[in-house]
């Protein structure tokens, strides 16, 4: 743990974080303790994506590389990046915030849409690839686009994704990680 009073968080900062994050105050302390290695202040502490991906909560997640990519700055996690990530995944976060970040995470080719390519990657990650045949994959993809693609352009924009995810009551429950 760090040394000196400069390492402990001031009350005003805590309150500031309270306003900016959907994350209970007490957990910020725990995350802070996890972050710091001895000799480093929490402000300067940085973690690489690999380190964060090896955390127990993310280790087995099939989308961990996308999660780390979306929440990090230049592949490094500062303390505030981790707070941001924890806030989005906390149980108190609002559904539309989760939906927007889910959209970023699922957009593998980062063109602003979830297109067929992204859908194929998602489905393959969700299953073991040898469990599903090619035509079943295509059929599933077409079903998803039938249901969610309202303007028929073959891709899901953020609005269409939001539209279909707000109808799903399970999404908020399953898009939670406890840090």
């Amino acid at each position: 743990m760090g040394q000196g009073s400069s390492e402990s968080m001031k009350t005003e900062e805590l309150e500031e974080y309270q306003v900016l994050l959907c994350f209970p105050l007490s957990r910020i302390h725990d995350t802070f303790k996890n972050m710091c290695s001895p000799g480093e202040g929490y402000r300067e502490a940085k973690m690489t994506s690999e380190q964060v991906c090896s955390w127990p909560q993310l280790k087995v997640n099939p989308f961990r590389d996308r999660i780390c990519h979306v929440f990090s700055t230049d592949d490094y996690f500062t303390f505030e990046d981790i707070l941001g990530m924890a806030s989005v995944f906390s149980e108190k976060a609002c559904p539309w915030l989760k939906i927007e970040y889910a959209f970023f995470i699922y957009d593998f080719n980062e063109n602003g849409f979830i297109d067929e390519e992204d859908l194929q990657i998602i489905i393959r990650r969700l299953l073991n690839s040898d469990d599903i045949k090619e035509e079943e994959l295509i059929s599933l993809m077409n079903h998803v686009l039938d249901e969610a693609d309202l303007d028929n352009d073959g891709m899901l924009s953020l609005a269409e994704f939001e539209h279909v995810m707000t109808k799903s009551p399970d999404f908020v429950l399953s898009f939670q990680i406890h840090f």
Binding site: S26, T73, D81, F89, Y101, L173, S174
Partner: protein, 690 residues
Amino acid sequence: MEPSAAGTNGFSWGSRGTPSLLELPSNQTLRFRGNRALTWGAALEGLESATGTVPQDQPTKDLEEEERPLKELPLCLAEKHRLRHQQEQVKGQLRGRGLWHTGKGRALRRFQSRMRDMLSQAEVWRGALRNIEGHFGTGIQSYFNFLRFLVLMNFVAALLVAGFVVVPNIVFEELRLNWMGDSQESAVNASCLHYNPNPQGLVSYFTYIMDLLSGKGFMELTYLFYGYYKNSVVDFVGFSYNIPLAYLLTTLFYLFFCLLWVVRRSVQRLRHSLVTEDGSLGTYSEKIFAGWDFGLTQRQVVELRKKSICYELKLELEEEALKQHQAAQTTRQRASLYAVRGLVNALVLVLLGAAFYCIYRATEYSQSLLGQDDSPVKGFYFLELLVAYLPSIVITAANLIFPMIFGVIVGLEKYPLSMEIKLTLLRSVFLRLASLAVLLISLWSQITCNGDLQSWGCETCGYNVHIHPCWETSVGQEMYKLLVFDWVTLLLVTLLVEFPRKMLVTQFPSCSLFRLWGQQEFLVPSNVLDLVYGQTVCWTGVLFCPLLPVLNTLKYIAIFYLKKLTLFTNCRPSDRTFRASSANFFFLLVLLLGLMLACVPALYSIFVLPPSKVCGPFRGELNMWSAVSIAVSKLPDITRDFLYFIGSLGFAVPLFLLLSILMFYLMALASSCSQMVMDLKSQLQLVSDA
């Protein structure tokens, strides 16, 4: 890629600005969704307006509302700090009253969030639930969540009942205060007053244990049952505590309070799917995008989850193929399918009828045999206990065997699998609640001599005094026995079936029989139905056995630990994941149904049946409700007239009409909204094709 640079790189926020989406009915229902709901893309509008210069002359209220969306903006913390700094600058220019307002608002919000934080930290069993979620997923966690909710509700109810009914009684007895008897004993026939539950003569130790288990004997003279409470008003330093009134009002309030709590919880669960658009749930999108449980942490569970998602998706594709196949069937094939379905439903009804008849006969037999003084089972302790528990045994046996039969025959009806599961579940629910109803009806027919109050047994006292000198206690005893037996069955099944099964299957993996049997799966629906059944029994019995909520709380706490133990020791994660949320609402609905069922005997006993003349707090009254009417008539004039008005038809009928009109209006609104959605969807397609 930084989400904060959203406005400048390839994310096409512009496409979300299709005005049609903002015209969707979900936006119009904004005002029904509470003041935290935002319109589509409102967070982004907040971003766009916030990155520009904030106008200097904004009223304070707008600033306060803008602060809230800061939490909900999809930006990195550095950006949020910058925005907040901007807002602080603007706020710094406020003077006087405006500053005070924002300061107060901020302090209030801080206080609220701290309270919420503390409350969530104080949640019971939080760590255990987190652990279960990590190992088995949110589906099974929802069962334990439901169980925790029931424990909490029972605990609060137990405090209520104990505080207003039991504790005053105990205190007044201890202090030997002045009891003022209100009963008129003169007009009562002496034969109605024969009641002595104390065992006569030499009593062996065994009798006490039998009495404890069946609620008879010395148990009838404890606070557990209705019969022990006194019909009196206690004078205590200037105010008088009316025990019968307290008893009645506490029970009614308890039922009403549970109703409010369950309804509130259902509405919270329903709020996610408040907007009913064209009814299509988007099953594929949901399974793919919301299918992964991000909270899972164990590798084996993750593998199983992948398998179960694969299974579900393949199932959906199969059902689709089946539907297409069925649509292509000829009329003759379809007719034969419908005939088979009709036959199966008839078979289900016959089975249910047989079960109900068995329960009815068992209750009749048990009550009559135990009520006779010269019955052949007196003196044979185990036989007596068996006869006393006969209704519970028959009900439990029916509830174990028949759902299995239902699960088998539903395969003949050739429904898609999801429909099969729902249908079996519905039938099991009906069986459980209806068997309880049949037990109550058979008790009623005994107490009121089949409704004929002029027949031989009932003409002296208005109820069957030979078998049930204190009939409320008898009903309470039946509910008590159901509770005890339910708990004992659970314990025995866990100890004698689940643990040995796990041991046998793991010790002898080569034996093909054991491999076929396999390890236990934790089936959420049947477990939840057990809980709902137990809670319904508690609600039914609370009027006759006031300490039942206390016993129920203890029972549910024990069940929590027992089920957690068996989950981690004996169960393997199932192949099919259980959908937590949609089923949650279904279970709350069944709980509400159970509550409705439980209210019927309570209200009937209060308003229609004559209370026992020899025991209980309403002895000597015409019916239980008269305690309330007497108390109301003693109130000051204005209050009394107001209460009479509320209870009269002149108030009830217009209220009913008003509520019906409101309901029809909302239904019309919903159907016009879904029509508008379909129109807008086709409009979207036209716009994009053009």
